[in-house]
């Protein structure tokens, strides 16, 4: 049962344009959501998070939007830069007995010069 889904395995964007990565979830008990960036053979790097009581959080070039009614969140990167090329994971925090982080499958973002 995939509770967090990233339906686009890959995305290609022109440098300078906006990158939009999407994520859907099914569990209403998630209390906050996170986006991570990951390079091969490295651990994930935290980018930005959003509480389930908010609908937007912005940090520099990164903005996360949360639509609770649709159980959908998205990460906007603008402007996109070549260094943004990586795999991006959406994750959701759940406290059910113990605290856990549930990840989506990831989206490989490629920024073209």
């Amino acid at each position: 049962d995939q509770q967090v889904k990233q339906n686009s395995p890959s995305l290609s964007v022109q440098e300078g344009r906006i990158s939009i990565l999407n994520c859907d979830y099914t569990n209403s008990m998630f209390d906050y959501f996170l986006w991570y960036k990951k390079y091969p053979a490295e651990g994930p790097t935290f980018l930005i998070s959003i509480s389930s009581i908010k609908d937007k959080n912005e940090d520099g070039r990164f903005t996360v939007f949360l639509n609770k009614s649709a159980k959908h969140l998205s990460l906007h990167i603008v402007p996109s830069q070549p260094g943004d090329s990586a795999v991006y994971f959406c994750a959701a925090n759940l406290i059910q007995g113990a605290q856990k982080l549930v990840f989506g499958q990831g989206t490989r973002l490629t920024i073209n010069p």
Binding site: A41, E42, F89, A98, K100, L101
Partner: protein, 110 residues
């Protein structure tokens, strides 16, 4: 803030051999500890978590086991590796500073 040390970085093991991956945490006490695996082309799957010494919870049935002999030590083991155990293994912890991940171990079972 907490730091996670994970080793080895890469490992090639034959099918049927044992496995022991170690993770240690610095900069915090009594953290929750996690083992995740990323199989080829897949997301990060939670394998085990631990809320304290000797306390292990398994998320998915599999060929692996975990142990927490000390507060800041988390070990992932197998008695006999399968080809399907290949993947990228990540240790993580959470304490007051949020989630922290180790640098991972790339395991290839041949």
């Amino acid at each position: 803030s907490q730091t996670i040390h994970q080793w080895p970085a890469t490992l090639v093991q034959p099918v049927g051999s044992p496995l022991s991956l170690e993770c240690t945490v610095e900069g915090t006490s009594n953290p929750n500890l996690y083992w995740y695996r990323q199989a080829a082309g897949r997301g990060l799957q939670l394998l085990f978590y631990s809320v304290g010494i000797g306390q292990i919870s398994s998320e998915v049935p599999q060929n692996l086991s975990a142990s927490r002999p000390q507060d800041r030590q988390f070990i992932l083991s197998s008695k006999k590796l399968l080809l399907s155990d290949s993947g990228f293994y990540l240790c993580a912890c959470i304490r007051s500073g949020g989630y922290t991940f180790g640098s991972g171990t790339r395991l290839t079972v041949v």
